[in-house]
């Protein structure tokens, strides 16, 4: 029997309202005991001064494989996830071919098993070929292991299809995730529509494009009893729509990306395509709206929307460069630096949005350190200051707007199923690959 003990760490587990310094024992890949004492047989990790959290979960990641292996592969994306502190990620179906059949789900799960980094949960297409016309074979996709459904990369445009998706997914108790955006309002858009887009002469994407469809989706969820998860909320209006829907008892959840609570549309003044993502960076009021939504619990989850793109694709004219930025390796640092340090969220509230909340949305048996649970654990150094250096990313792509930023807080040890899959060794400047311990 292999045992591992994590000593003297501050264990924060919102799934059981736990926040105390203790020794955590892991045996046979599961959480075995608290307040345990090490014996001769077991490996010990000293976590004094560190935070011991259920393994972090990022429920919105683009792994790009199959189809765009020049941007990311399942192996590199999951390695990036580990380095960012994530033990589980959910990958989006806008691959080529899209994840609309059992065989693609199985391929992804197979590649993830081969990579043997973190857990990968598959979010499959709502519609066949992600075309937004007919429902995909959702029942068979569930059997293959899909945990939720979305056409992310594109909105589910048709209200009729959205309604049917809510209804059909009810019998499998799966949520429908939507990238809610009225495309007719954002065509040719490059950035948020506001004073900055007006001055720069860049085509704008109005907040109404998100607000209108988010409200439509909420209405359809309310009408059908379906489970709606609004992806990457970015406007104060949509946050408020979710807030009011929750009060009425609608089954709605939502998520926010670190860049949407950190950056504003004024960043586009640099014309740097690493500030181009969809939804776009908004104005100050919307950033505050997202923070308020996190504080009052309207926003359930924090996700990276990790969207790797090879350098040659991003280094184009702003209207040609694709939307999206990588985020797995900066997400936790931004949460600590932009939410915890300024006092918007405390550690338990922040970690809930990266552990038990996403697990609950996706019905995953994860995000908890209850006795008997899978031993997915992230040990975080809450104080360490570090500088974002894209050259050190495990991700295959480096399209981040945070290069050179100094952040606080980073994952030090990442344990998946009781095995230490990542351990940060040494200081800044060490080369890639040196941090792996297994």
């Amino acid at each position: 029997m292999s045992t591992l003990i994590i000593k003297n760490g501050r264990v924060i587990d919102s799934s059981q309202q736990m926040d105390r310094v203790t020794n955590l024992l892991i045996a046979d890949g599961r959480i075995a005991a608290y307040d345990a004492e090490p014996d001769d047989e077991c490996t010990t990790i000293d976590a004094a001064g560190k935070i011991v959290s259920p393994g972090l979960i990022d429920m919105h990641v683009h792994l790009r494989e199959p189809g765009s292996e020049e941007d990311e592969t399942i192996a590199t994306g999951t390695a990036a996830a580990l380095a960012g502190g994530f033990t589980s990620i959910a990958c989006m179906p806008n691959t080529d071919p899209p994840i609309d059949s059992q065989s693609i789900v199985e391929f992804i799960r197979g590649q993830a098993a081969k990579a043997d980094n973190c857990n990968v949960f598959v979010v499959a297409c709502v519609s066949k070929n992600r075309e937004g016309k007919e429902l995909a074979e959702i029942g068979q996709l569930v059997e293959a292991g899909a945990v939720a459904f979305t056409d992310d990369g594109s909105p589910i445009n048709s209200p009729e299809l959205m309604r049917r998706a809510f209804e059909y997914c009810l019998m499998f108790d799966k949520p429908v995730l939507n990238h809610s955006e009225i495309r007719e309002l954002t065509e040719h858009g490059v950035m948020h529509e506001g004073l900055t887009s007006l001055i720069l002469g860049l085509a704008g994407m109005p907040t109404a494009a998100e607000d209108v469809m988010a409200s439509r989706d909420i209405a359809l969820a309310e009408a059908t009893g379906g489970r709606f998860h609004l992806m990457h909320v970015s406007t104060g209006g949509s946050v408020d729509a979710v807030r009011r829907a929750k009060r009425r008892g609608v089954r709605v959840t939502t998520e926010v990306c670190p860049h949407h609570f950190t950056l504003t549309d004024e960043c586009l003044r640099s014309f740097d395509s690493n500030f181009k993502m969809n939804p776009p960076l908004r104005g100050k009021g919307h950033v505050q709206g997202c923070i308020d939504g996190l504080i009052d619990g309207t926003i359930d989850a924090i996700v990276s929307d990790h969207a790797p793109h090879a350098k040659e694709k991003k280094m184009q004219e702003l209207d040609r460069a694709p939307f999206g930025i990588v985020g797995l390796e900066t997400s936790l640092g931004l949460v600590v630096t932009r939410l915890i340090e300024p006092g918007h969220l405390d550690w338990p509230a922040a970690l809930a949005r990266m552990t038990c909340n996403p697990a609950q949305i996706l019905n995953l048996d994860k995000g908890t350190l209850r006795i008997g649970a899978d031993a997915d654990v992230t040990i975080i150094d809450p104080k360490v200051r570090w500088t974002v250096d894209p050259a050190e990313f495990r991700s295959k792509s480096t399209n981040t707007p945070f290069a050179g930023w100094e952040l606080t807080g980073r994952a030090e040890v990442v344990i998946v199923g009781g095995r230490v899959k990542f351990e940060r060794k040494g200081e800044e400047g060490r080369g890639k690959g040196e941090d792996y311990c297994e």
Partner: protein, 333 residues
């Protein structure tokens, strides 16, 4: 002998990307130098060889006749060699990125790249990636600094100063780079700016940077000193912002009847190419208040001044043209 005077210390720029980033002093400097070049040309001098040995390339990813011709003439009058490069004849159709294209041109020893592109920010991107000088000749609806400068030069020539003047930019403000460059330049030199056009093309957000906006040309006519009539940019409009050209013309065409409502000394500009009968009727375009052709003449002078300021070598050129201190550097490669 052309005396362009001792160049002030304040010019340190290697690129001209937009008027937003320039100070009033820098704009005034360009205009003053442009006047000197204009006077020299008017006096019959065809060549003022301050850029001998330099090469300027027109890197145009969008169609243009007058701007490109104007830059070419300006460069040649300064003694520079010029080269035209247009997207249709380039490797861009073979998949090369525009940055690679520009780097290749630079590697061939180009000193100044004059770029026009449909996408805002493209000149900035080139400036970051190239060592030579970059001049923005229009980046989508963002900026067209030399057009703004020549419009302002024309107003200043007629009126002496911009201070206290009310200048109305009329038409497709949303898609007009000329409007944006004018707004920055005019404001910095002390003019009051009104943007006027249909509400789908004129954002109330302009008020946030102290630009007045109006939807009624008839309302503002009695109090404007200068009207700049901008072209409707059909090619940049993704959806129709007004019901018909006929309706637009009804509301915004500057015709003889509207002219009668203006101040007696109204000055009328149009950056061209003009749609006669849409923005302006022929009797107004060709009338005594119009300075449309003078704008074109001034365009060459402004572009000579800009080319000289960004690419001129210190201490070179004719007697009296000492560019010391001014001087730009990218004397490339």
């Amino acid at each position: 002998m052309v005396d362009i005077g001792p160049p002030p210390e304040c010019w340190t720029r290697r690129h001209l990307l937009g008027l937003e980033e320039l100070s009033a002093e820098e704009i005034t400097l360009i205009l003053d130098k442009a006047m000197v070049f204009k006077e020299a040309m008017t006096a019959g001098r065809k060549k003022i060889p301050l850029l001998t040995g330099k090469t300027c390339v027109n890197l145009f990813f969008e169609n243009s006749t007058r701007t490109r011709t104007s830059f070419t003439l300006a460069a040649r009058r300064l003694g520079a060699d010029t080269l035209d490069f247009s997207a249709s004849t380039s490797s861009l159709s073979k998949g090369e990125t525009f940055i690679d294209t520009a780097k290749n041109l630079e590697a061939m020893g180009v000193d100044v790249v004059v770029v026009r592109h449909r996408t805002p920010g493209t000149p900035q991107l080139l400036a970051q990636n190239l060592r030579c000088s970059v001049i923005n000749a229009g980046d989508g609806p963002h900026e067209h600094p030399t057009q703004g400068l020549l419009d302002i030069m024309t107003i200043r020539e007629r009126r002496g100063s911009l201070k206290g003047l009310t200048v109305a930019l009329v038409g497709d403000i949303a898609h007009s780079r000329t409007a944006r460059s004018n707004i920055w330049g005019l404001k910095k030199l002390g003019a009051h700016v009104i943007v006027c056009g249909p509400s789908t093309l004129v954002s109330p957000r302009w008020a946030e940077i102290d630009v007045e906006y109006s939807y009624s040309l008839d309302d503002i006519l009695p109090r404007v000193d200068v009207l700049n009539l901008l072209r409707i940019q059909f090619e940049r409009q993704f959806s129709r912002p007004f019901p018909s050209v006929r309706e637009y013309a009804h509301l915004y065409t500057m015709d003889a009847q509207r002219l009668a409502k203006t101040k007696d000394d109204i000055l009328i500009l149009a950056p061209g190419p003009i749609n006669r009968g849409v923005e302006v009727t022929p009797e107004v375009a060709d009338g005594s208040h119009s300075a449309i052709l003078e704008q074109v003449t001034n365009g060459v002078a402004v572009r000579m001044a800009v080319l000289w300021l960004v690419a001129g070598e210190r201490g070179k050129g004719e007697g009296g043209c000492v560019a010391a201190g001014l001087a730009p550097r990218c004397s490339s490669i």
